[in-house]
């Protein structure tokens, strides 16, 4: 398969007044294959949007190479074959959905109102296309954004945080649309800091933190190696302490111990230790590795000094002092799959 996007040692450094500089994208090497849905993951401020802007040629790179569809990023010819949905876009609010799509179509020299209507129908805005955008909900605005991004039947779509700030139903709508794009053979490059959607639709992901690539690969490969969760009652402190180990998570909830360990660990040994300590094993749940774990691992590896980070990566800064609360979130969430 040919590469839709390739970056080689891509660097973006912002110079500030007074000589200080800030490297936002640091030697990034990405390979996105044609026809795949590629998840570009990282906490806020990781450099995702900056990378996309470089790939679009909206900003220039400090060094390195960025190729899109076999040409240098920013090539105007490429722009005819790609499209971009910015994060949290606002549109000209006085326009109706239809007018907006017609406007963007005209930038390609496309004068085909039927096609514009068709696109709006496709994103379920058939009934609302003549209302001004100012009356649209966030989800509708995002859908109209998708409609405009399809106007040139692009080979490659850049979606920057496409589900950001949307309610769960809107999430699902957008997700379904993206899956349809893959059916049509389009390459989709999605950036996100929200893992739950991406996990289900992406073929491959790259994880960046602080501008550096921390993991990249097929989701199935990256997720190889699951975990097991053991729940037990009546566990003494001595026993629970003995179970603590690298790569294991030991926590308590409602007086029960929850032990989260890699499935490569000795499960029997752990159960034996519990039993011998007089504890009652309530459940043993084997679990496939989740993207979230991968994400946390990747980011945490990069950031060990600051302690492990849990849950949604809504904050770029991990904060070790709040570990108790973080643990609670983790247990409360349960296993979605």
């Amino acid at each position: 398969m040919s590469l839709a996007i390739e970056t080689i040692d891509l660097v973006k450094t912002y110079k500030h007044r007074g000589g200080a500089s800030n490297t936002v994208v640091d030697n990034l090497n990405l390979q996105v294959e044609s026809g795949e849905i590629f998840g570009f993951l990282g906490p806020n401020g990781a450099g995702k949007t900056t990378t996309i802007k470089m790939l679009l040629g909206i900003i220039g790179q400090t060094s390195g190479v960025a190729n899109v569809l076999g040409r240098e990023a920013g090539d105007i010819e490429i722009h005819k074959r790609i499209s971009y949905l910015p994060e949290k876009p606002y549109y000209y609010e006085y326009m109706s959905g239809l007018e907006l799509v017609i406007f963007y179509a005209s930038l390609f020299g496309i004068r085909d109102n039927d096609r514009c209507k068709e696109l709006l129908r496709r994103v379920n805005l058939a009934n609302d296309m003549n209302r001004p955008l100012s009356t649209y909900s966030k989800g509708m605005q995002q859908r109209v954004g998708l409609a405009q991004s399809l106007i040139n039947n692009p080979e490659l779509l850049f979606l920057d945080e496409p589900t950001g700030g949307l309610d769960p139903i809107a999430h699902i709508e957008i997700r379904d649309l993206i899956l349809q794009f893959r059916e049509e053979g389009k390459t989709v490059f999605i950036s996100s800091h929200e893992l739950s959607d991406v996990e289900r639709i992406c073929d491959r992901v790259a994880i960046i933190n602080k501008g550096q690539l921390v993991a990249q690969g097929r989701l199935t490969d990256l997720l190889a190696g699951g975990r097991v969760e053991v729940t037990a009652e009546g566990v003494s402190d001595a026993v629970s302490d003995s179970l603590r180990h690298e790569n294991r998570i030991v926590s308590f909830k409602d007086g029960r111990l929850i032990l989260d360990a890699p499935d490569s660990d000795d499960l029997n040994g752990m159960i034996d230790a519990l039993r011998n300590g007089g504890a009652q094993v309530v459940s043993v749940i084997p679990r496939r590795k989740r993207l979230e774990d991968l994400f946390i691992e990747a980011v945490a590896e990069d950031d060990t000094a600051k302690g492990r980070q849990r849950g949604r990566m809504t904050d770029g800064n991990s904060d070790g002092t709040k570990s108790a609360e973080v643990e609670e979130v983790k247990t409360g969430e349960g296993d979605p799959s």
Partner: protein
């Protein structure tokens, strides 16, 4: 070119919906309130004052609208991120800039037209319809329009590298200097008493800063009667001068904008 026109049209549409019509209405009301207050003057004076007032208000409000409209044009696009959507389409930056400029200029043209219409109506209501004066009012308004196009080009040029608030004062300043130097800088440049260096500096300013003052031809209309030979050619020359300067400014703006991080 398709893209340029589309962007221009969108910009115009947006400007129109920004309640500038309300401003025009307010100005008209203001004039209607002030105009009857001039009864104490002789006929010639009241015509002079009314015309002067009308044209003064027209000029000042056009200048303010021209600056405000253009100063925020590009920063707004960046802030709303609409510029990214547009630039990710097969649209070059200079096309975007040109489209924006043309949009602003057509919005200005429309507004000046409406304001002039309103003022002509006010004038006709108070002074009776005098076709000749009304026609020259329209002519002065035309020159204001070219002047405002030039001003918009100045503002859009600055907007490629300074913040809107700074730009507001900068463009306003250039407008002021450009308006004044017709009289002031010329006086300095030609004065025999001043040192050579000062005179040279004044000449340099005259050469670089667009001469807005030349577009102020209201004098001849407000006090009608003076026979000016060759006004048609003058207006043509003014238009040429305007287009030349606008081109310079837009080219500069395009160069800067082309390399700017947005």
């Amino acid at each position: 070119m398709n893209a340029v026109l589309s962007i221009a049209r969108t910009t115009l549409g947006e400007a129109i919906r920004r309640r500038v019509l309300l401003v025009i209405l307010l100005i008209a009301l203001l004039l209607l309130v002030i105009a009857p207050g001039m009864n104490g003057l002789t006929a010639r004076q009241s015509q002079t004052v009314l015309l002067s007032l009308i044209l003064g208000v027209l000029q000042l409000s056009s200048a303010v609208i021209a600056i405000v409209l253009t100063v925020y044009m590009i920063p707004n696009e960046v802030e709303r991120r609409t510029i990214y959507t547009i630039l990710s389409k097969p649209v070059l930056r200079w096309q975007f800039l040109l489209g924006k400029y043309l949009g602003a200029v057509s919005a200005l043209g429309l507004m000046i037209m409406l304001m002039t219409g309103t003022m002509i109506a006010v004038f006709a209501a108070f002074q009776g319809p005098n076709v000749e004066t009304l026609a020259s009012l329209a002519r002065v308004a035309m020159m204001y329009f070219v002047q405002m196009c030039l001003l918009a080009a100045v503002a859009i040029f600055f907007s490629t590298f300074v913040q809107p608030v700074v730009n507001f004062f900068l463009s306003g300043g250039v407008y002021l200097v450009g308006t004044v130097f017709g009289s002031l800088f010329a006086t300095i440049a030609e004065s025999q008493q001043l040192p050579q260096l000062v005179r040279l500096a004044a000449q340099l300013v005259m050469l670089i800063v667009p001469n807005f003052g030349q577009y102020n031809v209201q004098n001849s209309v407000i006090n009608s009667g003076a026979q000016i030979v060759g006004e048609g050619i003058y207006y043509t020359n003014l238009a040429v001068y305007g287009i030349v300067y606008i081109s310079i400014l837009l080219l500069g703006a395009m160069l800067i904008f082309d390399r700017r991080e947005v």
